[in-house]
């Protein structure tokens, strides 16, 4: 199981009209890995993440999840997506539903959980992130940090094999970044596969098992945090790190 590859990406290309954003990305991600994706803005890291659960349709190459090509028209993309939840920069909670409903609707409708099961799970998750008392509140009544913690719970409620984080702390006020990162750190030890596009170098260094540096639509360097931060080889990576560290 150690070398169990969950996500396998081959020669991934994505272009919007005339702009090539991804110019051939190859990577294998093992089950349980915590990947941090870093890179200058506009380098294509968010697009890469969004391709993995097909929010963007690649223009070339293939993405295999557990050996299933998700870009194949015959693949039931909705089933595949249930394995990997997405956490967005802007939370995207459902404002017309209470926190409890935000957490239970997907398990009830998509995984045939009973209402009781789903609510029990929701309570347990909210307790883990310290938001038990917000269970009947609406997203509009929460702070940014609280919203993002709820969004992570919403993803976990589906019991996914992987979670994709798309700059989860970028829209937060500085004093709220910590509470979200704490939740993510705790998660990293639980065995779930995590792929995080992030600007939090501290988090990447401390938590990630592997760091990927994307530049101009390609993986420019890939390695352990120690390799990337301690001994960067790529000139652009050195440049980048000198700016952000």
């Amino acid at each position: 199981m150690e070398n169990d590859i969950m996500i396998s990406i081959r020669n991934l290309h994505k272009s919007f009209k005339d702009t090539d954003v991804l110019k051939g990305i190859d990577i294998d991600i093992k089950r349980g890995e915590v990947i941090a994706i870093i890179g200058p803005s506009g380098c294509g890291k968010s697009t890469f993440l969004r391709c993995i659960n097909h929010l963007e349709e690649p223009t070339g190459g293939e993405i295999l999840i557990d050996g299933i090509n998700i870009n194949d028209k015959k693949t039931d993309i909705n089933k595949q997506r249930q394995k990997m939840m997405m956490v967005f920069q802007n939370f995207n909670l459902f404002p017309h539903m209470s926190i409890l409903e935000n957490l239970t609707i997907a398990p009830i409708k998509l995984k045939n959980k009973t209402k009781t099961e789903a609510e029990e799970k929701a309570r347990e998750l909210l307790a883990r992130v310290g938001l038990t008392e917000k269970i009947n509140a609406y997203p509009g009544q929460l702070s940014g940090g609280q919203k993002q913690r709820v969004a992570i719970c919403r993803a976990l409620a589906m019991e996914p094999e992987a979670i994709l984080f798309d700059e989860p702390t970028s829209a937060l006020d500085p004093e709220m970044v910590g509470e979200v990162l704490d939740v993510m750190k705790n998660l990293a030890g639980s065995g779930i596969t995590m792929i995080c596009v992030t600007h939090e170098m501290g988090f990447a260094r401390e938590v990630a098992s592997r760091v990927i540096f994307i530049d101009e639509g390609r993986i420019a360097e890939c390695g352990t945090p120690a390799e990337i931060f301690g001994n960067p080889k790529n000139r652009r990576l050195k440049d980048f790190l000198s700016k952000v560290l």
């Binding site: 909705n78 997506r81 967005f88 909670l93 459902f94 997907a106 409708k109 998509l110």
Partner: protein, 509 residues
């Protein structure tokens, strides 16, 4: 707290209602001061030359005055009764109309008289579609028989002439075989004594003769009431088998329709104000009795209200259902570029519906699309108003869907919901909340728009008010009564929409 709040709101609403009614009253009485216009400035046929003349649209009086007095200022009304009302109010100087209806009008209005001079003899006949020569022959044979055995004369005498009125009521002879189907007659029941509403059914000379003819032909008679100028097109399109409404044979009409032998003759006369005064108060016990109590006339309005509600209710449902489906298709195309063909079709549909008057759409659906089928009219109106509303609803709901942040779509899809599920659970509920005021507005417009149902002969509430008006020559009470009921319906609806709005807002803070 809540209780006091809702109570005070109700009181405010009631206050507004009465304020509005009061304003209507004041406005109308202000306009009415010039009503005591007094005697008409018309004393003989010669004065017609530059007079303001009221006529009924499409009648012989209409064409005759237009031809003979090109300088006269002619006002065409949909009904004879409307022309008479305009005369009473001084809006026209005289009304040129068939002799016997004129007599009926004059006997009911002591401020009106008929000038002695008559002009143009005319022959009334029954009209039948050009290709339907069999029916025309049958009708002619029946008329011949009724003429020779004196039935027609007896029927006419029963309605006309002081001595003979009420002397003979035609009845279907016992044991008549009625098994050969149904004859549909098109008429305009505001033309006493030929055809008019009495006690909830259409009666009069034409109605009795038509019954006698259908008895001879061994068929059931069904009378369809509609606007006078719709009768010929109804017969042409097969909506009715024949038309009978004091119709005069003219060259123009012969181009599009065939006429039977004449069954009676009439003349056109001039009705004028004679300078006497009629009861001119707006509301009196007498008038209320006459308009609503006598002959159970309130029942017209009650039945009409029912029809209006049925049409409104079902067209709202069609409008909302189609509107939501169309809006989803439109928004899907806008967002993903799929369903292009469907989207194009819906855009064409929306453009056509929003670009043409709803009344024309109603008439086209009834007279063109359902031309040959003898379909019930209420469903036709429901389809027409429902389709009309769906076009507006499509754009309203689409704007609601497009107003929802794309992140909501992505959140739904990334959880594993399908496109349709995402729409249903996340996008539409939020979109509805945003567009609810606009939807409420559209429903209000729709309910009031159903008031044109009368154009295809549906007895809705507006038409019911018209009936009463055509019998009592009183514009004020029936129109105000109908207006107040519409107002009440709309107020109830806005209250409900407002409640729903508050409830949704409480949820989705």
């Amino acid at each position: 707290m809540n209780y006091i709040n809702s109570k005070s709101k109700r009181i405010t609403a009631l206050f507004l209602l009465f304020l509005t009614a009061g304003c209507m009253l004041l406005t109308i009485s202000a306009c009415n001061t010039r009503d005591s216009a007094g005697k008409s400035p018309i004393e003989s046929v010669n004065d017609l030359a530059d007079a303001k003349v009221g006529v009924q649209l499409g009648t012989v009086g209409d064409t005759y005055v237009s031809d003979q007095y090109p300088n006269a200022d002619i006002e065409q009304f949909n009904k004879g009764a409307d022309a008479i009302q305009a005369l009473k109010q001084g809006k026209v100087d005289c009304v040129v109309i068939d002799k016997f209806p004129a007599q009926a009008f004059v006997s009911a209005n002591k401020d009106l008289s008929i000038l002695d001079q008559e002009f143009t003899n005319e022959e009334y006949a029954i009209c039948v579609a050009k290709e339907n020569t069999d029916l025309l022959n049958d009708i002619n044979a029946a008329l011949n028989q009724l003429n020779s055995n004196g039935t027609i004369e007896k029927i006419i005498d029963n309605y006309i002439g002081d001595d003979t009125k009420g002397s003979y009521q035609y009845k279907t002879p016992d044991g008549t075989d009625k098994s050969k189907g149904t004859l549909v007659m098109a008429t305009n029941a505001a033309f006493e004594p030929y055809e008019y509403m009495d006690g909830g059914k259409i009666t009069g000379i034409d109605a009795d003769i038509a019954l006698a003819i259908s008895d001879i032909l061994g068929m059931e008679l069904e009378i369809e009431d509609m606007e006078f100028d719709s009768i010929i097109s109804a017969v042409q399109s097969g909506k009715a088998d024949f038309g009978m409404a004091g119709l005069t044979v003219t060259e123009d009409r012969l181009l599009s329709i065939n006429f039977s032998d004449s069954y009676t003759t009439s003349t056109q006369v001039i009705v004028v104000r004679n300078g006497n005064t009629d009861d001119s108060s707006f509301i009196s016990i007498e008038k209320i009795k006459n308009n609503f109590i006598k002959d159970n006339r309130w029942q017209y309005i009650a039945k009409g209200l029912g029809t209006t509600l049925v049409i409104s209710f079902f067209s709202v449902i069609i409008g909302v259902v189609l509107g939501v489906i169309f809006a989803i298709i439109r928004a899907t195309c806008d967002k993903t570029g799929k369903l292009k063909l469907l989207n194009l079709l819906i855009r064409i549909f929306v453009t056509i519906i929003r670009g043409t008057p709803v009344m024309i759409q109603l008439l086209i659906i009834y007279y063109v699309i359902f031309a040959s089928s003898n379909i019930d009219k209420v469903p036709v109106a429901i389809i027409a108003f429902g389709l009309n509303s769906s076009a507006y609803m499509t754009e309203i709901v689409r704007s609601g869907i497009m107003s929802i942040d794309n992140g909501q779509f992505e959140a739904g899809r990334s959880l594993g919901f399908s496109y349709i599920q995402t729409m249903r659970y996340f996008i539409l509920p939020q979109a509805f909340k945003n567009v609810l005021p606009a939807v409420g507005n559209e429903l209000i417009v729709l309910i009031k728009e159903t008031s044109i149902s009368g154009y295809i002969g549906i007895m809705d509430m507006t038409r019911a008010g018209d009936y009463i008006r055509s019998r009592t020559y009183d514009a004020f009470l029936p129109l105000i009564a109908v207006a107040l009921i519409y107002l009440a319906i709309v107020m109830i609806l806005s209250t409900l929409v407002g409640k729903l709005e508050r409830r949704l807002n409480k949820d989705g803070k």
